[in-house]
């Protein structure tokens, strides 16, 4: 394995943090302590952790909507308590409480989002173009699922990124499902990565349950991008243990997903896989691993306290009118 122990520890720590924050968001939604909806990570968080952990603060990133990008963003250093505050409609929310679930952390190269799957791709070209023109080695990381590659905008973005050799990493976090639709029914090839061939772009397929494998593959892609060699499509094969978003039925087409299938997916637990590796190569002891969990839970607790103590955002309509256009 080519990763330093320091980076492995960072990846493992962020993985554990992502897991606990995911449980926190899911729990709060179920209890009515979160506005709107939540698309739980539940099994699907190693690729995002890897992506966020290896980027610099000034690199551009579009996080995945799964787990609302929490794994990606906390790994990049974003203060997640402000994102939780956004989810609770507070003044301290990252969007001033105006969205319930959009991200906006411009100082981290994260400029907001849209709820339409595939809506990231046009902007990614612009981030890539800006990164190239800035000429300081910045890259742009695009994190979306298999379903987003059904959308024409993905193809325009890959075409233009490949044409212009833009420093973009297309990370496809393929969990095999777009809401109730199996990828086999929606995509003609087994791998999304095979699309890269048509754009003369390198690609890699990686185990999306293994955070270290994801990081290695993404590091290669980032290295190429920083060296001016253009975009890469990295497909991480991951899993989704739960429904698309909490409260909707968990279907395979129009029938419930089977217990057997879900049990099989649970076999591939990213936390267990990473923990075994950390212990096997003696990067961390069991005691140190327990401490990582304790610290993550304490961080979750502090984030909740921050969000709950913040005032509800209740601007006047005059204040809102004045906020539509920039000066």
């Amino acid at each position: 394995m080519g990763l330093s122990k320091k980076l492995m520890t960072k990846l493992f720590t962020n993985l554990v943090r992502a897991h606990h924050f995911d449980e926190l968001f899911a729990r709060r939604l179920t209890r009515g302590e979160l506005i709107g909806f939540y698309h739980p990570a539940a099994g699907h968080f190693a690729p995002g952790v890897a992506a966020g952990s290896i980027l610099n603060k000034d690199d551009f990133m579009w996080p995945h909507h799964r787990a609302h990008g929490v794994p990606h963003m906390l790994s990049k250093g974003v203060p997640i308590e402000e994102f939780l505050a956004e989810h609770t409609g507070k003044e301290t929310g990252c969007c001033a409480g105006r969205t319930s679930w959009h991200w906006s952390f411009p100082e981290f190269g994260i400029y907001g989002m849209t709820g339409y799957i595939g809506g990231n791709f046009p902007q990614m070209v612009g981030y890539g173009w800006a990164a190239q023109r800035n000429g300081n080695g910045q890259v742009a990381m695009s994190c979306t699922g298999d379903g987003s590659y059904n959308n024409g905008r993905a193809h325009e973005a890959m075409l233009m990124a490949a044409n212009w050799k833009l420093p973009i990493i297309f990370l496809c976090e393929n969990n095999g499902w777009a809401i109730h639709s199996r990828i086999e029914d929606m995509h003609p090839t087994e791998d999304i990565a095979s699309l890269a061939l048509g754009y003369d772009m390198p690609s890699a397929i990686v185990d999306g349950q293994d955070v270290f494998a994801c990081a290695e593959a993404l590091q290669e892609a980032v290295k190429r991008a920083r060296a001016g060699k253009g975009p890469t499509l990295v497909e991480a094969k991951t899993v989704r243990w739960r429904e698309h978003d909490i409260g909707t039925p968990d279907l395979d087409g129009y029938r419930p997903r089977t217990k057997e299938e879900l049990a099989e997916l649970h076999e591939r637990d990213p936390i267990r896989i990473a923990t075994e590796q950390m212990l096997d190569n003696k990067t961390l002891s069991q005691g140190q691993i327990d401490k990582v969990h304790e610290d993550a839970l304490a961080e979750c607790d502090a984030a909740e306290k921050f969000a709950d103590a913040s005032a509800i955002a209740e601007p006047t309509v005059e204040e809102l009118r004045a906020a539509v256009y920039a000066d």
Binding site: C94, C95, Q123, Y127, R133, A157, L159, M160
Partner: protein, 320 residues
């Protein structure tokens, strides 16, 4: 002042602003080779880095500007034909206008979205229609449309300097119209209508090719009916004060809008006049718009589009 064409005035503003600010760049299809003359020679002066040709990928082309604007650049996205912007409809009509506001008013989106459009060339709906009502309906977007060479220069320069997405559409039946244009940097502030011709009997609010028609009719009626012509120039923000002030004098209004009547700009202005200036009116307001059907090309185009003859007839009806 120097005399130049409407299209050269657009180019003059782009050139001045690109010289003044290195973060301004243009992205479009076949703009290096200048399919329209407003980009002719720009690539020679500013290089391929700043005059960027894209594949026929409107989402990607628009996204180049959108993403770069968020990252600190000031893009001009050239859709060639104005209505082609609808190819990138979702990103442009939903994401663009909400971007700044929804994300806590933190990161401005300074960009210009331009395209030539309008009737007169008999090209039929897809090339001829002016995207207007649907864009004005979306909060967070600005919208200008010049009628004269001077305004073409001044509005483009202001649009480039604005820190918001500004649609700059221009009329291809006016491209070669000539007029006096200020030299050097010149700005027409967004949100200022202009009284282009003073009169006392009736106000005609008209823009673009319709402005040209209205001016022609006003001259024809000179000595018989005194027609005041106001050019809105900027549709969002829209300056209704200039219009209300005019109505205090004329008490009669016709709105000529090169868009469909239904839910369009003319309907919006009528509503504003009823809300703010009902007591100023001596007669019902008339609006002359494009019929509510897809614009046909060929020889039937004038049948569905406002013409000087229709404008004259409306003026006579309203002041009668």
């Amino acid at each position: 002042m120097v005399e130049m064409t409407y299209v050269d005035a657009i180019k003059s503003a782009i050139t001045e602003e690109m010289r003044a600010d290195d973060s301004v760049f243009m992205v479009g299809q076949d703009i290096r080779g200048a399919i329209y003359p407003h980009t002719k020679g720009l690539v020679d002066e500013f290089g391929e880095d700043r005059i960027v040709d894209t594949p026929m990928s409107e989402f990607g082309m628009f996204g180049t500007g959108f993403g770069a604007a968020l990252a600190g650049y000031r893009p001009i996205v050239d859709f060639m034909f104005g209505s082609c912007c609808m190819v990138a409809g979702e990103t442009l009509m939903v994401q663009l206008g909400q971007q700044y506001f929804l994300h806590g008013s933190q990161t401005p989106v300074p960009m210009v979205l331009m395209g030539a459009c309008g009737t007169g060339k008999r090209l039929a709906n897809d090339h001829a229609y002016i995207p207007r009502g649907e864009i004005l309906h979306r909060p967070g977007l600005k919208y200008v449309f010049p009628s004269t060479p001077a305004d073409a220069k001044g509005l483009m320069a202001s649009a480039i300097r604005d820190n918001n997405p500004v649609f700059f559409f221009y009329h291809y039946d006016l491209l070669m119209d000539r007029g006096e244009v200020p030299e050097g940097q010149y700005f027409v502030p967004l949100g200022q209508s202009e009284v282009k011709r003073e009169g006392s009997d009736i106000t005609v609010l008209a823009n673009g090719l319709m402005y040209k028609h209205a001016m022609q009719v006003a001259e024809q009626l000179d000595g018989e009916i005194s027609v005041e012509v106001i050019d809105p120039r900027s549709f969002e923000p829209f300056d209704s004060e200039t219009l209300m002030k005019s109505l205090e004098k004329t008490n009669h209004l016709i709105i000529v809008d090169e868009d469909h009547a239904r839910c369009g700009f003319a309907a919006e202005v009528m509503a504003q006049v009823f809300e703010q200036g009902f007591d100023l009116l001596d007669a019902p307001v008339e609006r002359l718009c494009i019929e509510n059907l897809p614009i046909p090309g060929g020889y039937m185009e004038p049948t569905v589009v406002p013409t000087p003859e229709k404008i004259e007839a409306a003026i006579r009806r309203v002041v009668a």
